[in-house]
Symmetry: C2
Subunit: 569 residues, 2 copies
């Protein structure tokens, strides 16, 4: 069979039903092979490859399985670099497929063949595996190997760069060498036993333990098991912001922590004496005044599939490198208990109750209403900037259980809309896509995709007419010498209503006086629509941690007497 | 002084009056230093960093001197990768400035600090120099070194990635170590003598010599000297497509060659017995049937500053690695002559006259009129795809002498509009920006930039409602199995008039019946405007070389009898 047919067949076998990209000469054989399998796999056209890579990120993040994007040589694949690096930081298993026509690079020649460059040199450090396939005999081996790397241990993207003649060659995959991964002798039993012993011992001493979950739970498909584990132990659970949708409706869940965390979540974290971290990178700086309080008070048990994460040392912690897929199911059945302390449970409850209504001004309350107006099957995507903090807060307050996709580690502005496209194809459900006015512009060309395919995507633009987060830094650190961040000094926003109309989308504007019921009919529509929420100035309404504040003392500060009372609890 | 002030001062000293980028936290000190020098240097805000990098390309390409773009860490700088690689392929001297907050990377840790990654690993192979400046003492040395690399020998982009604390540090540049380039003992005298000897000898034997000029002439600022050289020798000159604006009105100039070259230019090239290549990479494949005719008939003298180019061996050639800046002025004065052959001159003239009117159908004739309607100071920018071949052809037929900017080697779709922005700031002249319907969409967000700053940019969209060049390949090589390239199979274009209106731009539509005079008033306007030229199907009207054809036999083929007559001349 033709090599490109084999690759497409491989993707279909792995459950990839959609590929994103923009065609160019050297990838037409691949595209043609996709076209031959209509009904099983579809090729979607974006209007900048950056969006194709982001769409694949959304697809993989929702599905928890392989996704694929393709690009032509040269500028095609370089346009995907932001999406590839994002996939690496978010641990998303994606095949990035490209091709080249010229076999190998002579050293030091700047342009050997028009448009071509050394993709492997450029992308090795931001992929789990990057390979040029230039030998017909190695097609099966390399594809299987790339797939294994993408999906196993800590998942991540792979780059596969075909020589055009290989893509066109006839191969007999059955006669080709397969990839056989090294057998992992440790099947998780041993790790689980060691971890169980440690947990048993530490929980027997702990008065105020908490579990901290991260995105690794989702990556490993362990959400359900974690829910059972938590129920059995009856321990408060905190999460990273990007993991706030893993067990959102568990009675043990107390929100997400962090520098823009939920006020009560940070308070609870500050009171722990034992922190069991599952699939969470613990990115805080333990030496900072802000987060030092954690390691001062709590022992930390770190369980992570990626042992390299332990290179970042955290005092007062023990580390276990283990695949949660192997370990968590065994922990559920292990003989581990915590002697439930009514005191700790009630402290957590009281802290939450006391602070719950805080930080819920406009526009958070409008976002809450928007989220509540859509079904729980609706996927939510987030962009980057102040808008994401408003959204995170609103998600918590809404009591939603919807999937919500962040891009926290790499944080590329403008990812929300293309991710929404990928999320739609992955779920075939409505998508609620939140973005800011600057993020919207970053990939505004994809409005054309959404309109042409008539996707049920509601784009909610939180428009503060500024590069808000950066403007705030200029205000605080540069004596309000604003530059390129507000309407007065170089930043600007097109008229969003006119843009929506030009592309052929529905549009609704909303401010703090708008009747939410007026929005509801639009939210119910199946076609694409933009809802613009006018936000005057978001800085003060977004809870955040000024440098040097302890993590429970989030700005804007609460009443001092109340703060002291909560501190003493 | 503050390190960031020093850097901005350095840029101003080098004549950089504009920087392009999007601010983010770690580059605010740099931006603030730019802001302090208002009137001497300006910070311009794009809406995707891809466009900032492209704008810097346009700026450097026009000015022939240093340009600068800045980006924040992470996605900011990865969004520039396409522009950085383009600058490398186009040999453009650009400072790409970014910053990071975390000192050094532990091996193998995937995300050490949110958003940060190893920029040097990623970008070393597509820059002339890539450096992390993490030591306060090395600021002056590294900046001077980067500048030297960017501008000297074969120019190119450099990446400068500051540690944030270094950017903020106080430095005394005078007390810091300077960068002193190694003295080049060979001052060009020796190279010039060797080259002169070779030329003298070969020209004495040649009956049909020609000079082939490339972009290196522009890069080295040698356009005027080349003009004098040509006049003195009285030899026909051919060029690459991207060098067609170097001596466009010289009576010795016979157009650009190549697979989409001018018909008479390729004919003349096929008849040469000596080809003197100056600053041209000679990218053709000498082994191909198409271009084999050159080396079969002609001896080639290659003069290039980048000796690595000679790794690509071409039969029947002699190579001289030499900086044209040192050599060409000496050649002008050297005792070299060619015994003018009336026969060869008349063959060239006749060939040109006979074929001149060929290939000038609609839309080429409309483009000719548009070019003729603007002043010679107007800069022209080109995108990538079929539209660039129409534009190149029209430029030749119009007899224009305007600067025209291509991006041939790397060929990133969507570069024309952001390049036009950079070209405007470099010249403060009107810019005529040609693009296709797919290229327009690629960076459509920059319409906001152009409108906000009210730039005198005329965007001419050659709209064939398809990804034309790729569609043509699907027709020929894949039995017309179109996918993602036409309106019937996934490709689409927004209503360009509505988009122009939404962004607040003027708009005019034009087809083969439009009176060009109706366009003239719009072309005279100072503000931004879009002119949409409706092109039904461009494939057949674009002269091109089918695989295996000799280079003078361009499709669509001319009358057989005429062809034979021209061949025999």
């Amino acid at each position: 069979m033709k090599a490109s047919d084999y690759i497409v067949n491989f993707l279909i076998d792995k459950g990839v039903a959609d590929v994103f990209g923009i065609p160019g000469g050297v990838v037409l054989d691949f595209l043609d092979s996709v076209g031959k399998r209509k009904g099983e796999i579809a090729a979607h056209l974006n209007y900048n490859e950056q969006a194709s890579a982001f769409a694949a990120c959304g697809y993989a993040q929702i599905a928890g399985k392989l996704a694929a994007a393709y690009a032509t040589r040269g500028p095609g694949i370089t346009n995907m670099v932001t999406g590839i690096t994002n996939a690496f930081c978010e641990s998303l298993p994606i095949f990035f497929i490209t091709a080249h026509s010229h076999k190998s690079f002579l050293s030091d020649i700047r342009i050997e063949e028009e448009q071509e460059f050394d993709t492997i040199k450029m992308l090795s450090s931001v992929t789990k595996y990057a390979v040029k396939i230039e030998n017909v005999e190695s097609v099966r081996y390399e594809i299987e190997k790339a797939c294994y790397f993408a999906l196993n241990e800590r998942p991540g993207p792979v780059l596969i760069d075909f020589l055009l003649s290989v893509l066109r060659a006839d191969i007999d995959p059955k006669s080709q060498r397969p990839f056989i991964p090294e057998q992992d002798i440790n099947d998780g039993q041993m790790s689980a036993k060691m971890i169980a012993n440690c947990l048993k011992q530490e929980l027997s001493k702990a008065k105020r333990p908490a579990v901290l979950i991260g995105n690794g739970i989702r990556q490993s498909g362990m959400s359900k098991y974690v829910e059972r584990l938590i129920k059995k132990w009856n321990i408060p659970v905190l999460s990273s912001r990007s993991a706030q949708d893993i067990i959102p409706d568990s009675k043990n869940y107390y929100g997400y922590i962090g520098s823009h965390g939920i006020r009560y979540s940070n308070f609870i974290l500050s009171k722990c004496d034992l922190l069991i971290s599952l699939g969470n990178r613990l990115m805080f700086k333990p030496s900072s005044k802000t987060f030092g309080v954690i390691t001062d008070r709590a022992k930390i048990i770190r369980i992570d599939v990626d042992k390299n994460e332990f290179l970042r040392e955290i005092p007062n912690s023990v580390c276990f490198a283990a695949d949660l897929r192997a370990v968590i199911p065994l922990l559920v059945d292990a003989d581990i208990e915590w002697q439930d302390s009514t005191e700790w449970g009630s402290v957590c409850k009281k802290t939450k109750e006391t602070l719950y209504a805080n930080d819920s001004d406009f526009p958070v309350n409008v976002i809450v209403k928007v989220i509540k107006s859509v079904g729980s099957q609706t996927v939510i995507t987030s962009d980057v900037g102040n808008n994401e903090f408003l959204l995170s807060r609103a998600y918590t307050l809404s009591g939603a259980t919807n999937r919500i996709l962040y891009s926290k580690s790499f944080g590329p502005l403008g990812i929300s809309m293309p991710k929404a496209i990928g999320a739609f194809y992955s779920t075939k459900s409505k998508v609620l896509c939140f973005t800011g006015d600057q993020g919207l512009q970053m990939n505004i060309q994809e409005l054309q995709f959404i309109v042409k395919e008539n996707l049920p995507i509601v784009i909610v633009v939180l428009n503060n007419f500024s590069s808000g987060m950066i403007r705030d830094q200029q205000e605080k650190k540069f004596d309000s010498r604003f530059l390129c961040t507000t309407l007065n000094d170089g930043y600007s926003v097109p008229n969003i209503e006119k843009v929506a109309t030009a592309f052929g989308m529905g549009y609704h504007r909303c401010d703090n006086k708008t009747d939410i019921n007026a929005l509801k009919s639009m939210l119910g529509d199946d076609g694409p629509v933009i809802i613009e929420i006018l936000v005057d100035k978001t800085e003060e309404i977004i809870p955040h941690l000024p440098v040097g504040y302890p993590m429970q003392n989030i700005a804007p500060e609460i009443d001092g007497v109340l703060y002291e009372r909560l501190e003493r609890m």
